[in-house]
Amino acid sequence: MLFSSIPFLYYFLPCVLITYFISPRCLKNTVLLLFSLVFYGWGEPKLVLLMVISILIGYISGLLIEKFRGTVYSKISMILGVVIAFSFLIYYKYANFFVENFGALTGISVPVLKIALPIGISFYTFQIVSYIIDVYRADTCAQKNIINLAAYIAMFPQLIAGPIVRYVDVERQLRTRVHTVDKLSLGIRRFVLGLAKKILVANALGELCDIFRETSGQSVVFAWIYGIAFSLHIYFDFSGYSDMAIGLGHMFGFNFLENFNYPYVSVSVTEFWRRWHMSLGSWFRDYLYIPLGGNRVKKRYRWFINIFIVWLATGFWHGAAWNFIIWGLMFGVLLVIEKLWLLKHFGKHKVLSRIYVLFVVMISFIIFNASSMSQAWNDIISLFGFGNLPFITTETLYYLRSYALIFIIAFIGATPFMKNSIAKIRETKSGMKIINTAEPLVLAVLLIIMTSFLVDGSFNPFLYFRF
C-alpha cells in the first residue's frame, strides 16, 4: 500500500489510528504489528510469510546469541542469522542478476528465474541484520517478546522505504512511549508536508522525466531539464517518504532518526552523503566500513579498498543492475579523489564547490535512472551536444514554461531557506502568532489539495519501492 493513495489515507490510516488509540497500552504493539502485516500484505499477500520467517530468524538468532554469550556458539548464531537473512535478500533480489551475467559470461543459456522482488526486503533485512549484530555486540539485549520485535521490523511507517531504523534507537520506545498532543500535532505536520513533497512536487517532476523519455522533441536543453528534474524528483520522492514515515512514527509515539538534511546544499560529495539517505550511510559505516577497518588501517590503499567495497555494496543495494554498481563505484572514486586532493579546497570556493556537487550528483542520478548503461551514456552525452539532438525544440520550451513554477518551488524546497525563514519569523511574538495561526490552515488546505490530486491522478508508485 502506498502512503500517497486514497486506500491508505482514508481507509487504512483512520482505522489504524482509531484502533491504536482505543487499545490498552499492552496491546498497542500488537495492533501496530497486525495493521503492519495488513499494510504489507495489501501489495504482496503471499510474501507476508517471507517477512514473518525473516522476523523469526532475527528473533531466534537474538535469543541464541544471548543464551550462548561468551561462547563460540554465540558467534555461530550471529553468523547463521545474518547469512540466512541475507540469503533471502540475495535470492529474491539478485538471483536473476547473477544468472543473467553468468549466462552472458560463459555463453551458457540459463533460464531466467521468475522471482518477484518482495517490497521493502532490502530495508527490513538490514533492520534484522543490524538487530542481530547489535545483540551480538551487546549494544542491546535480545528482545524476548516476539510481538515487540516483529512490531519493530514490520512497522508500516518505515517498512517499505525506510528510514532504516536501528533497534537500539527504538528499543526503549517499544516498551514504553508517550503519546502527547504536541507529538501528534508534530507528526501530522510532518506527514502532511511529506505527502505534499511527494504528491505535489515529486510526482510533477516525475511526469516531466517521463515526458522527456517519451517525446520525439528531445533536445540538449531538454536533456539538462531532465537531469535536473530527476535529481529533484528523487530527492522530493524519497525525502517526502521519509518525512511521512517520521511523521507517522511521531503519531504512534516513536522518534525515528532523520534521513535527509538538505543534501543539495553540500559543498562536497563527502558532505552530500552525510546528508542523503543518512540511515543507509550510517548502516554501511557501522556494519561494513568500520568492521573492515575503516580509515584506521596501516596501508592507505587498504583504506581505499574499504571505501570501494562500501560503495560497491551501496550501489548493489539499490538494485541488481550494472548501472547501480557503476553509480555506487562512481561515488567511491569521487570520495577517494576528494579525500586525497579536493576536500581542503572546498571551503574556499563554496559556490564552485556546490556547482561541482550538483553536477556530479546529477550525472550520477542520470546513471541511476537509466534502464541500461547505453541509455545512461546517451543521456550524458546529450547534455554536451553529442547526442545528435537539436539545441532546443518547441516541446522543450513548452514544458519548460509549464513546469517553471514547480522547478522554482523545488529549488527553494531543496534548501533550508523556508525552514530558516519560518524559524526567523517565529523569533518575534507577532511572527509566532502568525505562523501558529497559519500552520493548521495551510496543512488543512494542503491535505484537501493533495486529496484532489490523488482523486484525479492514477497510481504513483514510490521510487524506492524497487529497492
Partner: protein, 374 residues
C-alpha cells in the same frame, strides 16, 4: 495563538478532515455512472479468499476508491484549478483552456505512420470494393480545433500543412482531395467539445457538394436544444467553464428523409431527440456512433448516390449533404470491419458500391490515431 493551542487546533482540524472524509468514503452509496467523464464507475470488487490471496481484490479496490470518492468532481475541479493557477501548468492531463474559454486537448505530435496507415486503409477499401464500381472517390480531411487554437494560445500544435500534404500524397492515386481547411476557424467548433457546429459548416457542405458535382438545398431552419451542451472536454477539464448551446439545421428535405439504422434494423431520425436529453448531446446527430446507416431522399431530383466513410464529425455533416443525393450510405469503419470476409455483416455483403460516389471524410484526430480504423 500560542503553540499549545495551535497544536490542539491543528490536531482537531486535521482529524476532522481525515476522519470526516474517511467516514464519507466508507458510507457513501456507490454511483454507477459519471456523466462528466461519460463512463461507468468501478464498483466494490469481489471479496473472497481467492481474490484476497491473489491480490486481485487489492488491485481493484484502489480503482473503486478513486471512482467512488465523495464529491469526486469537485475534488477534480480543485486539482485542475491548483494545477493551472498555483503551479502554472499550461495543461492539465493534456487539456487546456484558452483565454476565450475554448477547451482543447493536445493532439501532438503528428504521427506520420498513423497518417500513412489511414491512407493505406482507404487504399485497401478502394482496391477491394471501389476500383471498378463506376463511381468517383473523394477524400477530405477535417482539421481538429487545435489547428486554430493550440499554437495561438501557446500550446503544442501539429504541423497541419504537413499532415494534409501527407494524406494527399498517399491517396492521390485513387481519390480526389477536397480541401476544406480554409473554410474553418475556431468559431466553427464547440467551446467544450471536439466537434464542429453544424450551423457553421454549411459552406463546407457546399464546397464538398460542388466538388462532387451536386447541389444542395439551402433552405435550412435553425433549431436549438433546450438543454445546454457540456461537451466531452467539459468533464475532462473539470474546470468551471461556460457550456455550449447545440443547434441543428432542418429543412423540408432533411425532415422527409427516410433513414435506416442497419445495426438495429429499424428506422431512425436524422436528429435523435432521445439523445438530445442524454449526456452527450452531439449524439443527437444521426444517433451518434452508428456504424451503418442508409439515408433515402424521397424528394431527390437526382439519381446520384453517395457512400460516406466517416467518423463522428460526419454525423453533423451528412444531414446537410442529404438534399444533393438520392441516397447516402454512411459507414464508420471504426465499428465495422472493412476487411473482405464472407461474414454477413462485412462491408461487401452490406453495401452495393456500384455507380456510387464515395467520400472519405475524417478528422485529423482519427487519422492521427488510425489504429482505430478496422
Amino acid at each position: 495563538m500560542n503553540t499549545r493551542i495551535k497544536d490542539y487546533v491543528q490536531l482537531i482540524l486535521l482529524s476532522v478532515l481525515l476522519f470526516g472524509i474517511s467516514f464519507w468514503c466508507w458510507f457513501k452509496p456507490a454511483t454507477d455512472f459519471s456523466t462528466t467523464e461519460r463512463r461507468e464507475l468501478k464498483q466494490f470488487p469481489e471479496l473472497s479468499v481467492k481474490t484476497l490471496v491473489s491480490g486481485k481484490f487489492m488491485q481493484t479496490f484502489e480503482d473503486y476508491t478513486l471512482d467512488q470518492f465523495p464529491a469526486r468532481d469537485s475534488f477534480r475541479t480543485i486539482k485542475a484549478l491548483t494545477a493551472k493557477y498555483v503551479f502554472g501548468h499550461l495543461d492539465n492531463n493534456d487539456i487546456f483552456v484558452t483565454s476565450d474559454g475554448m477547451i482543447g486537448k493536445h493532439e501532438y505530435p503528428l504521427k506520420q505512420d498513423q497518417v500513412v496507415h489511414a491512407a493505406n486503409k482507404f487504399k485497401y477499401v478502394y482496391n477491394t470494393y471501389l476500383k471498378d464500381n463506376g463511381g468517383k472517390v473523394y477524400l477530405s480531411v477535417i482539421p481538429d480545433k487545435n489547428a486554430f487554437i493550440a499554437e495561438e494560445s501557446g500550446h503544442l500544435a501539429m504541423d497541419y500543412d504537413l499532415f494534409f500534404k501527407l494524406m494527399q500524397e498517399n491517396t492521390k492515386d485513387f481519390a480526389t482531395y477536397i480541401d476544406i481547411s480554409d473554410l474553418l476557424s475556431k468559431d466553427d467548433y464547440y467551446l467544450t467539445d471536439t466537434h464542429w457546429k453544424q450551423e457553421c459548416i454549411t459552406d463546407v457542405a457546399d464546397r464538398l457538394a460542388e466538388a462532387m458535382g451536386t447541389t444542395l438545398d439551402k433552405n435550412y431552419k435553425l433549431n436549438t436544444l433546450e438543454k445546454t451542451f457540456a461537451g466531452v472536454y467539459y468533464g475532462q477539464s473539470a474546470l468551471p467553464v461556460e457550456k455550449d448551446t447545440l443547434n441543428y439545421l432542418t429543412s423540408d428535405i432533411i425532415d422527409s428523409c427516410i433513414i435506416k439504422n442497419y445495426e438495429t434494423g429499424k428506422e431512425m431520425s436524422m436528429y435523435d431527440m432521445e439523445k438530445a436529453n442524454g449526456y452527450d448531446l452531439y449524439e443527437t446527430f444521426l444517433s451518434g456512433s452508428v456504424s451503418f446507416i442508409v439515408i433515402e431522399n424521397p424528394q431527390a431530383t437526382t439519381d446520384k448516390e453517395l457512400v460516406v466513410f466517416r467518423d463522428s464529425f460526419g454525423s453533423s455533416l451528412v444531414p446537410l449533404l442529404a438534399s444533393g443525393y438520392k441516397s447516402i450510405t454512411v459507414i464508420d469503419i471504426r465499428y465495422i470491419s472493412s476487411l473482405k470476409t464472407e461474414m454477413p455483416n462485412s462491408l461487401q455483403n452490406l453495401v452495393d458500391f456500384k455507380n456510387k460516389d464515395v467520400l472519405f471524410i475524417y478528422s485529423t484526430l482519427v487519422l492521427n490515431n488510425s489504429n482505430t480504423l478496422k
